[in-house]
Symmetry: D2
Subunit: 195 residues, 4 copies
């Protein structure tokens, strides 16, 4: 899962390091510097819950990612990643959606800058509903309708489309790390699709 696993490709895209060829750009952190900063500062994240909507805007399905951890464990997650220095929240959200859902997903970013919730991930479990043993991360979480086909790139293996009922279930929640089952429920509540 994005915010909890080591980077399989250090020169790859966020959330794991600087973009290719950017190692010497002072605006980007080396892996060592990023590791250091993570122990000292809250990291700013964006998260996206991909949804399908019908012609009236009502959410019909929720997209959940399947991802393999470096230890070969399969976990369920949503779109998630760091906001870079100098990058707008909107650009960061778009970049991570494209990375995780592919270039044909055509996400419709909301006109509003306000997230449906602010998820606070702490390295010590129990401080909040969200946990990330790697860092203190504060995440702005958005519901994002996607209109095209999703073909995950990078380390996301596939996107599974679930009904709102399935997405809110205890069984799905148990497969999601870091409290993201709660995040999916809050997303569903924000669109009136939680029962």
């Amino acid at each position: 899962m994005a915010v909890r696993t080591p980077d399989p490709d250090p020169s790859g895209d966020d959330p794991f390091g600087a973009p290719e060829g950017a190692a010497s750009n002072p605006a980007w952190l080396s892996d060592i510097e990023l590791t250091e900063a993570r122990r000292r500062l809250p990291m700013l994240y964006v998260e996206g819950v991909p949804v399908r909507v019908d012609g009236m805007g009502q959410v019909t399905e929720v997209g959940i990612l399947l991802r393999a951890t470096p230890m070969g464990e399969m976990v369920r997650t949503i779109v998630s990643g760091r906001v870079r220095y100098g990058e707008t929240v909107r650009d960061a959200l778009f970049r991570h959606l494209e990375n995780d859902l592919g270039p044909m997903a055509f996400p419709l970013l909301p006109p509003q800058p306000v997230p449906f919730t602010v998820a606070e991930y702490f390295p010590i479990p129990g401080v909040s509903a969200f946990h990330d043993d790697r860092q203190h991360a504060v995440s702005l979480a958005f519901v994002v309708p996607v209109t095209g086909p999703c073909e995950p790139r990078q380390d996301a293996l596939e996107v599974t489309w679930l009904t709102p009922e399935e997405a809110a279930s205890d069984s799905l929640s148990a497969e999601m790390e870091g409290g993201r089952g709660t995040l999916v429920r809050l997303a569903l509540a924000s669109v009136g699709a939680l029962r």
Copy 2:
């Protein structure tokens, strides 16, 4: 302007009466009954501020309607109309968008059921920022991205696309009746496009 002018076509669509052929349907009010109810109950309205967004979801333009009153006066307004008995808020919003912007506008209704503001129109000016001498109306107001061409039907003469700065200006506000200049500013604020 929708909520303040008599209906040029009594058998026409909302907000002025029952749909054609529905006069004997007990779920619909005759014109006389509706006039009577308007003096006794708050009427539920939906309003839509049509916008154009760029590829990142950011609002670039705001659509303002030009409408002729029965007295031949030109006023500026937004999409506005009553919610009917048995109709969902979402269906009512879609119906009024289609009536005022035409069938090719392709509005993208928001997945969220929560409006950007609740506008309370009172028959006596000064109770709130909004005024409608015909009735007490409570309106759920939404920002709605539209993706297709707009060809107003019914009594709306045209749609003018303005920049956020123009839409927030005092001069536009002065041309809008019932406090809808304020409503447009609140809409712009909700999408972070008010300076």
Copy 3:
């Protein structure tokens, strides 16, 4: 429960009729007229989920009302009632909070006019998550911190304070009519207190 049970006191306070002595006021509906209007127009409601908060504003408890129906059945509900002609949404919410929680509850109404959700109650079950066999009602629902002791008046028998976990439970939801278990969960989600 407020919106589904006949009024034990026809001349009493809303949501069942005009205030005492107001029968001849044209701005108020007689019981017969209100019954008639309910079959023709969506009724505007406000609902309040009373909460206790700690010194940091975090919700610690949710207040659920116990009420006896005319048939002697006990149901769980929240604060709920109609908006009157000429009354602001804010005034209506305050009036119903005072009716249901007593004059010492000291509710802190939110500065924002936007509800946490818009609940649409239809007479036919299944149209939405909410159901009211008596009418089509559209309700603006708010979370309201209360700071004083609650002594229900009228037909509410008592207020029970539950933890967020208890308030979100399936067992409580089963005791609540009209889908208000869902409404309580959406309220908890809006304050980040749903897991």
Copy 4:
């Protein structure tokens, strides 16, 4: 103004450095490290617009801070400061409110975790409505009713209470740095107090 001026007291409270005696705590940054991090990572901020509300929750006044810059210039601002490593957003907001308004202000933090807007400050002007030549900061901005007397501590000289009209005026906006005049208007819009 908090986010743009050097700290008059380097060992003092945030946003300018570690708390007293924390210099050797690896979770806190030295001034040099913080300066360095500011050139590489977006900084997470909270901002609070203090308001007075009437008995119905309606905003009647907005509190604007007067502050002297190190060059002796007077600027107007709002409550603003950094979120520390390990600190909740709520705790950070409370801490900065207490620093800027004094211990008797009794702020009522909102139960909702969602800000009224997300303000993105960039070191280069024009990227967004907000500007901070010192850093890239992303700020979660909240409207906070305060109920007690305000006695600014630290470098804030006084709190001036303005009507919503005064607070939204162009003349006030011109006295506020970094685009915070816009932030005050967005705050007023969120509580329905902008005309």
